[in-house]
Assembly symmetry: C2
Homo-oligomer: 308 residues x 2
Amino acid sequence: MSSRVLIVGSVALDDVKTPRGHHHRVLGGSASYGSIAAGLFSPVDIVGVVGDDFPSEHIAQLEACGVNTRGIEIVRGGKTFHWGGEYSGEMNEAITHFTELGVFEHFNPTIPDAYRENDFVFLANIHPALQLRVLEQVKKPKLSVCDSMNLWISTERDTLIQVLKRVDVALLNDQEAMMLFETHSLPTAARQLLDLGLRHAIIKKGSHGAQMFSNGGTFAVPAVPLDTVQDPTGAGDTFAGGLIGYLASRKTLDEMSFRQAIMVGSACASFVVEDFSIRETARMSKEKIRGRYEKLQAALHVDPVELG
Amino acid sequence: MSSRVLIVGSVALDDVKTPRGHHHRVLGGSASYGSIAAGLFSPVDIVGVVGDDFPSEHIAQLEACGVNTRGIEIVRGGKTFHWGGEYSGEMNEAITHFTELGVFEHFNPTIPDAYRENDFVFLANIHPALQLRVLEQVKKPKLSVCDSMNLWISTERDTLIQVLKRVDVALLNDQEAMMLFETHSLPTAARQLLDLGLRHAIIKKGSHGAQMFSNGGTFAVPAVPLDTVQDPTGAGDTFAGGLIGYLASRKTLDEMSFRQAIMVGSACASFVVEDFSIRETARMSKEKIRGRYEKLQAALHVDPVELG
């Protein structure tokens, strides 16, 4: 029996251009990506805000993926958060063309009573003050996971540190983790994260995969080798969603469950980048995840050393 | 019984500055780093050239590490290849301050008869035309490994491709591999390397570790997490040396031996960066390698996925 997952973050419309294509007003946002991946493994309650320009088929799409959307507030006369950006070259980083915050500018998440006892909480990337407000509204979950971004590290570092002190897992990319502690060493940054009281520091490394640090050691997975990446948007949020959704389906949260969850998150992320928006993750199945998981597991297998 | 390894490349004096210190005229060069790591596992014959300014203690140091130095030509009145450079920040790339090629400018490797039947050959980074000349002088080895650099990819691509078609293993860093085939996808670059007839494409990713591609699949290891890197010079050559030295100590060259060899190479590389020049690798022991290997192996362990 899976536990329910609460996911709070952005629900957006994206204009995305990559060397593989150009798509307008497709479903985007950290909470959308995270929820669709998590929904494959556990029931998800999403909390976000959109304007009344938000297409109803996107709501239907989320619902079809096991996501309860009653927590998405629809503001009459408001505009949905609209982001436009472009990727080129190795597509490791987006160039933002425009950011129209719309109703997201005044997003102040109110967690419906029915979701306050969810055992699993994913704070997708939003202002850390809002992340704190979510934590104040929920009962102590079994597991809370927090994402963030370089903007909040530069402008709201103290608030972000307060959030990190209250959650179990930090999810950051390598540059963000090093920036947070002004170091050029990823292991040093990870150590400092753990010193805040976090149980796990999970570092996303884009095309280099992901690495988890905990007091029990480190675990690293490469990205699933893909010949063609269509659109990297949402890879990190999809990774996070797969991770927390898988953990919420487990009886125990031991170290091995986290390792498995990182593999599952990586498998989910490998699907999302194979098409624009959530097209490919909406088509994911547990069997497809198992296939990629086994491929990744084979890529990690090595026998003990034999030294004469 | 280990086979003998032939290593051909540069033997140099380095001036290296990093945030951790500044050292002058320390032992450097691709062949030196490679030989010292390989020498821990198998007997090594090095071929290179130096001037008569080359300190005899460096020769003694190489010999003490199991390296036969009779193939190092000492040019009377000549100057040893002298490189000066600096690392800052994440120390992923050196800024070169000066390159005085000295006698290395006219290096034309002549392989002593006694080394021509060595079963293992490492062509460290030198002009690909010289690498070809080495291949013409040796009997078909059991295993040949070739390194290169961005300079030769830009200026001598055709010659480099000829070399790659004749060796068993290509060792390149990720940017070099993608540059060679004008792609932004590492898996695509790896596929193209294998299409040249290579048995393995081994990609060095600096602080992200290493990844091997072969027709049997892929294998990835992270870098050993280190809090303090003193000097990254020679990490790639030390990785290569550990890899080929380990393989030369094995009875068979199956896929698992290569995976183990990548782990051993990574362990060796993790030592070399902990001090300047070859100080730390000269102190390596098989027991120390085993310790790091086991640490890395633990970082790769994961159980099968459990999907409800």
